[in-house]
Structure formats: C-alpha cells, structure tokens
C-alpha cells in the first residue's frame, strides 16, 4: 500500500498529460511524434523536390536537386490552362459556400426556432437524404443536365452542392442554443422574422458558421467525381479535374506533374497555415455534434 501510494502520484501526471520535467516517457513521446511527422510530411517534401528538378535531374535519385529550377512552374502555368482551372475552382467553391452558408443557416434557424405544423417531418426528411450516396445520384444528375443543357456549365458543376443536409443538421444544433428570450426581445422591438434570423440569431453562431464555410469550401475545392462527369472541355475544368487529366497526358514528365500538384497544394497550405486553429477546432465542433 505504501509502495502504491508513492507510485500513484508519479504515474498520474503521465496519464493526465502533464509530465514532470524529467519524465522519460514524454521524451519518448516527442521522438515517436517527430518520427511520425517525418513520415507524414515526406510526400510534401518529395513533391516540392521533384517540382524543382530540371528534366535531366529527374531520375537522379538524390534527395536535394543539384540544379533547382522554377522552370517547371512557368511551363505548367503557360502551357496548360492552369490559371483558368484555378479560377474555375475558386468561382465554383465560393458560390457554393455562400449558398450553403445562407440556406443551411436559414433552414437550421427555421427548424430550431420557429414552430409550425410539419416541422419534425421536414427535419427527418432532410436528414434521411444524408443516407443517399452521391454515386447513386450522378447518373440521374447527368441525364437531367443533358436535358436542361447544364452540361459543361458552372451551374452544372455547382447545382448538386448548393444546399447541404449535413450543414442544416449542424446549424440546427447550434441554433437550438440561441436563447428564445433574445428573439422575443427582437420581436418586441419590431424586428422582422427575417431580421430575427439574419441580425439576431446568425451572429450568435459565428464559430459554427465559420466551420461550415471552411469545410464546404474545402469539399467543393476537392470535388472530383461529379465535375469529372459534367465537364467536357479543357477550359471549364476545375483544378482537380484539370490536374488529373493533365497528369494523365503528361506521361512520365513527373517534374511537370509534381509542379502542377505543388501549384494546387501550396495555396491550400498557405490558407491552412493562417486558419489552422479554426480549421482543426472546426473538426471537433462539427465532428462531435454530428
């Protein structure tokens, strides 16, 4: 018992994440984490190193290029429609994000804060659509887009994602936490029903809205299956479709493939570096609620 009593306080901090200064376990943890980081970061390193290699050095297996060059980047930017693809992705992702942010928060607010017949049914119906996998919908979407002339247009790329059922579910949870007294006070002051949502409820859930916007943007920036189907000409391609088809045609010109990958990855990493905390905390916020 005496032995346990002496051991316990020493063991406790380790488990609870507060190691003492000379805790050897913490040092092992640092070493293991650093080793894992090297493995996780290596693909980025390899991408950039290859993108900087001149074609002659491509199959030189050294880890640092002997004649680093930015020529691959200029070649990708001038020989392909990369800038256009980047712009297409930006347009599609931004408009989709704005649409999702507006409609999802409006529906989430309505379902959480307004009382009306059919509220429960409508909520369950929207949730049930989450069970339908995208793959099941792309064939009808394609047939629909052909019939309406939406193939190879921005609208055609965007329309499936303009409202998100998951986002509605998420925002409804957060809207439930907005106090009714706040809305009633607004009603007494003569605020319109739309104003109650827009001016009173919406500012209360800013962190959730930020998370929703970030993940909607990332999801659409990355979207591949549907854009691949609906886009038919090179100048309408989004970045993922453009890179995939360019890389497929580039054969073994890996210096160009890696340069195009790097051009797609680096802006995202720059944004991540700035918004890192919000993005990671957004996962916790949305993941646990969902």
């Amino acid at each position: 018992m005496a032995l346990e009593a002496r051991l316990a306080p020493r063991a406790a901090p380790a488990v609870l994440g507060r190691p003492r200064r000379r805790d050897p376990g913490a040092w092992l943890a640092y070493i293991a984490l650093a080793a894992g980081t090297v493995a996780v970061a290596f693909p980025f390193y390899w991408m950039i190193v290859t993108a900087l290699k001149s074609p002659i050095d491509l199959f030189d297996l050294r880890l640092v290029p002997s004649h680093p060059t930015l020529g691959n980047f200029t070649e990708v930017l001038t020989r392909t429609q990369f800038p256009r693809w980047f712009g297409n992705s930006l347009v599609v992702a931004l408009i989709t994000t704005l649409s999702v942010a507006f409609f999802d928060s409006l529906v989430g607010y309505t379902l959480a804060k307004l009382r009306f017949p059919g509220r429960g049914l409508i909520f369950v119906m929207i949730l049930a659509t989450l069970m339908i996998p995208t793959e099941m919908l792309v064939i009808p979407w394609y047939i629909m887009s052909s019939a309406f002339g939406w193939i190879n247009t921005y609208w055609g790329i965007m329309f499936p994602g303009l409202i998100s059922a998951f986002g509605i579910f998420l925002i409804r949870q957060f809207m439930s936490g907005v106090p009714d007294e706040l809305l009633d006070a607004g009603r007494i002051d003569g605020v319109s029903e739309f104003g109650l949502y827009w001016r009173i409820a919406l500012p209360q859930i800013k962190p959730a809205m930020a998370a929703l916007c970030i993940f909607t943007f990332l999801g659409n920036w990355n979207a591949f299956l549907w854009p691949l189907i609906v886009i038919q000409t090179a100048h309408m391609r989004t970045l993922p479709v453009g890179i995939a088809l360019f890389s497929g045609e580039a054969g073994s010109a890996w210096h160009l493939i890696m340069a195009s990958s790097a051009l797609a990855v680096l802006p995202v990493l720059a944004v991540f570096a700035v918004l890192q905390r919000q993005i990671i905390e957004g996962v916790t916020l949305t993941g646990l609620r969902g």
């Binding site: 063991a11 390899w46 339908i132 996998p133 793959e135 099941m136 920036w221 995939a244």
Partner: protein, 297 residues
C-alpha cells in the same frame, strides 16, 4: 385570436424560408434517388433512344459479373485493411500528444496537413513515390538491402498501396477526433483507479477504451462510409491502368463510373449504386449495434 394570427403568421414565414430548400431536396436528392432505382430496372443506354424495362436483369447481370464481384471484394479489403490501422495509429498519436506539453499544436497541425491537401494532387504525389525504379520508397528498401517492390504495378500490393495513402490522408482527422474524445473522459476516473494501484495498460484497457466507445463508434462508422466510397484516390493513383493491374484496386464507385460513363450501361451502373446504397445502410446499422454496447460504471 391575435395569438392565433401571430402563430399562423410565423408558420407562414417558416414555410416561406423552407420553400427553396425543400424544392432543392426534392428535385436534386429525392427525385434523382427514385429515378436511379427506376433506371436500374431498365436497359438504359444514353446513345440508344430505346430504353426497355428489363425487371431485375441488371442486378442478375451484375451478380454474374466477375469484375463487379472483384470491386465488391476489393472494397471490403480496403475497409478491413485501412480502418483498424487508421484507428490504432490515430489513437496512438492522440495519446502521445497528450503526454507532451510543448509543440502540441505544431504536431497536431502537421499530422492534420494531409486532410486539407487536395486529394487529386496528393494521389499523384503518392503514385510518384511508389514508382518502381525512381520512387523514394524503393530507394529506401534497396538502401536497407531489401528487394525493390512493384507496389502499384502489382495486383496484390496495389490495393494496400492505395490504402496507405488513404490512412495518411485521414490520420490527422482521426487524431483530432480522438483528442476530443480523450478530453471528455473525466480525470476523476483515472485518479480513482490510480488510488487503487492501477496503471498503464490496465487504465487504457478498462477506462480509456470503454469511455472512448462513442468516439470509436463515430470514427468506425464515418470511415467505413468513406472507404466504401473510395474513388478519387484510386482513379488517380492507378490512372493509366484504371482500377489497377488485374483490377486489383478497382472499387465499387470506380466501377460505377466505368459502367455508366465509359461503357454507357447506365442501367447496370444504377443497379450497382443501389447495391452500394444497401451496403452502406446495412454496414452502418450493423456497426452501430456491434460497437455501441453500453458501458456500465
């Protein structure tokens, strides 16, 4: 009377707010889902104007299609190979992060990086890393005196090569989810057990794991659904030889894409998506039941 009018007015506002979104869900989710089932019962070739009703024939054709069977088996392999590794590594990294005080945020961000990296670009980087003659992975193997491997060019190794990339991509996400789950376990449980002389493995086995159960259920269900729908990584990592050597990396979704949009057999493709839909539904429900055993404390 005024109260009723007020309530009615508010209900009308609610319907006005819901009008566009409900129309959207009906037109873009519900109707296409029904339409997909309808198409699966027809011989539906985009080019041909005739689209005759064929009953369950597309499903029968699929059940006898060796490539569809392989896609289904491969999909199960992805799930079985990837998810245990992803959960184990995720939990290990999360627990390591809780043992350190400094640089915790930096490490967390570095592990999270692949999750925000554009998937298409990352897939091509991994394809290049797996290169048989010029890839760094084989360089490392050779430096260690081991034989070079074909990786993505091998019918048996390619699937695990893709799985490794997917685990890499989702590890950081998994770590963040586990960190939140671990944070939610009250310290009092550990302290009480330690007073009783418990430590190390016993604490992990009897406190951490059972109390982390909701997080484990969420992670397992979420990642199973992700793995069942693998497409982008597979298409891009085995681009030249779509679906890998001897269809070794072929997934259900990639096969749907090939059937519907390269061979224009939309009826069969729609039937395959119906099978996928049922599989996702069934596995989700099953996993919920198996993993959500109640914990008594």
């Amino acid at each position: 009377m005024p109260g009723l009018q007020l309530g009615t007015r508010r209900a009308l506002w609610a319907y006005a707010f819901l009008l566009v979104p409900l129309a959207f869900f009906l037109a873009i989710r519900v109707a296409p889902a029904v339409s997909s089932l309808y198409i699966s019962l027809h011989e539906w070739n985009v080019i041909s104007p005739e689209k005759p009703f064929v009953g369950l024939r597309n499903f029968v054709t699929l059940s006898r299609d060796p490539k569809f069977a392989q896609a289904a088996v491969n999909t199960v392999r992805y799930v079985l190979a990837g998810i245990p590794v992803q959960l184990a590594l995720g939990l290990a990294v999360a627990m390591l992060l809780r043992r350190i005080n400094r640089f915790r945020g930096v490490f967390r961000a570095l592990y999270f990086l692949p999750f925000v990296t554009p998937i298409v670009a990352a897939s091509w980087v991994w394809q290049w890393m797996y290169s048989e003659q010029f890839g760094p992975l084989n360089q490392i193997l050779v430096a260690l005196g081991l034989p070079a491997q074909p990786f993505l060019r091998s019918p048996t190794q390619a699937l695990y090569g893709v799985t490794a990339m997917v685990v890499w991509q989702y590890l950081g996400f998994q770590v963040v989810i586990f960190l939140a789950g671990l944070e939610a376990i009250p310290r009092a449980y550990y302290e009480a057990a330690q007073v009783d002389g418990a430590s190390g493995w016993y604490l992990f086995r009897h406190i951490t794991v059972p109390l982390l159960n909701p997080t484990l259920v969420f992670s397992a269900v979420y990642s199973t659904i992700v793995y069942l729908q693998l497409f982008t990584q597979v298409l891009n990592m085995t681009f030249g030889d779509q679906g890998g050597p001897l269809a070794g990396t072929l997934t259900m979704v990639l096969y749907v894409y090939q059937l519907g949009f390269q061979r224009f057999k939309m009826g069969e493709a729609a039937a395959a998506t119906a099978v996928l839909f049922v599989a996702i539904l069934a596995i989700t429900l099953l996993q919920m039941r198996v993993l959500s055993r109640p914990v008594e404390y």
